[in-house]
Amino acid sequence: MLPIGFYRTLLWCYPAPFRHEYGAEMIGAFAEQVREARQQGGWQAEASIWISTLFDVLVTAPREHSHVIHQDLRYAIRTLASQPGFAAVAVLSLALGIGANTAIFTLINSVLLSALPVRDPHSLVILTNPASNGVTIGGKSGEREELTSSEFRQLRDLSSVFASLMACQIQPERVPVRVDGSEPAETVVQLVSSEYFSTLGVPALLGRTLSPDDDPAAPNAVISYDYWQRRFGRRADVLGSRIAIRQGVFSIIGVAPASFFGETVGQRPEIWVPLSMQPAVLPGRDWLHENPGDREKVMWLHVFGRLKPGIRIETAQAAANVTFQQGLAVFYGSAERARRQWLKLRPAASGASQIRGQFAEPLTMLLLASGLVLLIACANLGNLLLTRTTARIREMSVRLALGAGRGRLIRQLLTESMVVAFVGGIAGLGAAWILRAGLLRLVSDTIHLPGAPDARVLGFAFALTLVAGLILGLLPALRTMSVNAGAGLKEQGRGVTGSAAWLRTGKFVVVGQMALSLPLLVGAGLLLQTLQNLQHADLGYVKERLFLVRVDVQMAGYEEQRRLAVFQRLLERVRAEPGVQAASYSKSGLFLGSRSSGHVKVEGYTPEGGDGVRSVWDHAGPDYFSTLGIPLLLGREITERDRPSSNKVCVINEAFAKRFFADRNPLGMHVDRYEIVGVARDSRNRSLRDEVEARFYIPAAQATDVPRFITFVVRTVAEPSSVLAAVRQTILSEDRNLPITAASTLTELVNRQMVQDRLLARLSTAFGVVGLFLAAIGLYGVVSYGVARRTNEIGIRKALGAPHSAVMAMILRETGLLLAVGLVSGLALCAAGMRFITSRLYGLAPTDPVALGVAITVLTGVALIAGWLPAYRASRVDPLVALRCE
């Protein structure tokens, strides 16, 4: 049978104090039992003793552990309750720290990590680019980011690799919707193929979802849970209700489940209607069919597929590309051209998202910053706990002297810090909930993210709480390691503020806090400066007193030949509006996200590939450049005289001239069939950060296809918003049916470009300030403690005739030394963290001397104030009182 020694090993399952107390007795009793069994019943009886003992250990060891934990918890709660001030400060700091981190993490979770709330999201793939954000009209080469309706239809029949495929509009439209004849309200409508819900595996909460029966243009609609709640008060008789969307009247056939927000993270369509209903929802153009060779095919769909079991994504990609390129070969009449475009399949468990790329980096940076703040807060609380531990050295010494194990004391302290951390963590979850809402508002009011915290968020908060508890408990626990029973009792003679060891640790912690605060402050400074630079970035024109209004004439039913006349008429009426200084139009406008590009032939420039070069262009109205105030460097701008029948002309920008003409004079040369008559200074109309693209402008009147929409640019005499409203009215008085698809001042549009920058700058400033404040409190605590310890020495110095200033200098020197070490370590941290921030900066380097200088000055100033207060108190010490302290 097993030796008794094995039972001794089993005893390690019990808590150490229990083992020490009863181990020998238990072994003795067990040995007797075994001996007796051997005598009476042989090996069977002995085996039965072993088995029942094994079970006994399994049951009683955990019970003993939980008993000890229970006792520690009760003791910890009693101790904390006796110091409500400390408990409140600690819980509040941790709640804020853990809350801020968790709030940022919930955003990271919903933007970057979460899977779509659909059936088996991991077998979904996306055939288009998940980051694509709109409609492309015209030609394309390389990886296809969007697909056309007929391309989707060809792929849909590819049943060898996909269980099913669906297509959906990439950019849902915000359109006026009437419910049962009520006033129209702006609602987000998305066109989706009839397989949309079945491919995603989303059943209807009420009624049914779209099905292939809805394909021959059935006017059916599925609404979102939110919309059902808001517009219909969750009425069950919503099914069959009629809603009017532009030129179609739809009947509601189902409600989607509450958790379902669509396939794109950040969007939240309210109504889904069949793709085949496009002519009613997006009238004016056929987006569903294209004829072979069409120059203007509309690529506007995301396509998702559910892989058949066992099919790998590479296999599916190869099969999809064969079908796709076969279709293109028919379309272009050239297999070679078809091969220049391909599909790239990606896993689509987390859906599509236009904001993912945009926010991944800023959110990660913010998580890093809030993590630093939490660390500083933990260090402070650890320091506070340490002071309390030091004050309890006597209690500890007594307990040690009475035979308590050191491990038990450390566990007791860790239990205390864990209790603080857990209460803080739970409060932190609440704080995260509130902070998250604020964060979202700061990001954008048009981005919708799912709200409920999932297991990952809870796990994150739990892990953070555990780490915070450990950090908190670490310092006091380390301190206890060095307590010995005799010394602790003796030290008490010097008063409660007795320990030099604590002061050493405290100083170390304060230096660490200042070192961590510096990169936070420098980062905040750099990001604030970046925001400033972006706000004052040179656009190439004055952005104030300028607004834009986009009108979609095609949607209102204007055929091509009538469009120019209506543009001209609208322009004249806008110009006549009081308060308007100048007005013109272009197709793409400024900072509205649209852009036309394609292959062009530039006279005298031979590209390497042979087939022409890619360039961006825009259709401009008369006096476009002078309206914006963009100076012409050479030649003239586009005017009223550039009619359809006159010489075809264009204006190029500086970047275009530099790229294609280098040092030649571009005037008189041709881009395609347009003669260059002017070179305009570079101006920005898409991005504040990227290089200005090579671009040319042709008169809208001379374009091959007259634009389907145009964007008026209006320069006003004074503040633009009142004029903007009047111009809207003027446009509607020309034709009530003209859809105004965008109307906003340029300042607003440019500000939208800076969402992430503003988020980063504001939050990092907040974190910087909080970090600095916490570090200052830490420093104040340590210096005050040092002064209290030296009250006696200060008294003697003063009695010997030292002036106030000498005492102050002595204490401040100490602060200065801590600060210097903190700054040097902080600078090292800054150097290490530089690469995280470089890509977010604009117009300055991460080593920017101003940001660095300001951060160092602020940190020094705050540290000196925190150190000055105790120094001042020390200098006022009355020598008699001080000496009496002994």
Binding site: Y14, F18, E21, Y22, A24, E25, M26, I27, G28, A29, F30, E32, Q33, S52, T53, F55, D56, V57, V59, T60, A61, R63, E64, H67
Partner: protein, 120 residues
Amino acid sequence: MSSDVSDPDSLLPLPTAVFHILVALADRDRHGYSIMQDIAARTGGKVRLSAGTLYSSIHRMLEQGLVEELRESPDPLSQDERRRYYHLTRWGRRVAMAEARRLTEMLSQARETGLIPKKL
């Protein structure tokens, strides 16, 4: 310790092992193994406490003041230094009585309802 809690009912119902230990200590002080033997003998071998259950219970009973540890062995013949002897306290006796009363009441209730015969 809880020995100053005046109401023994606050500790009821007692875990079976605890009640057996109290009964084993009723007539004399015993060491751990002796308690185990006594219980096994009284129950005809049906209840056999393992060392873990025994000492885990004693640990708790010491905290609750039901038993106390004797400083010296009551058995002058015992040579075993390791052995610790336990003694039933007055409080422990009261608690054991209360538990016995509780069990008796339960038994009589079961008899009254006819669930079990008057005499088993």
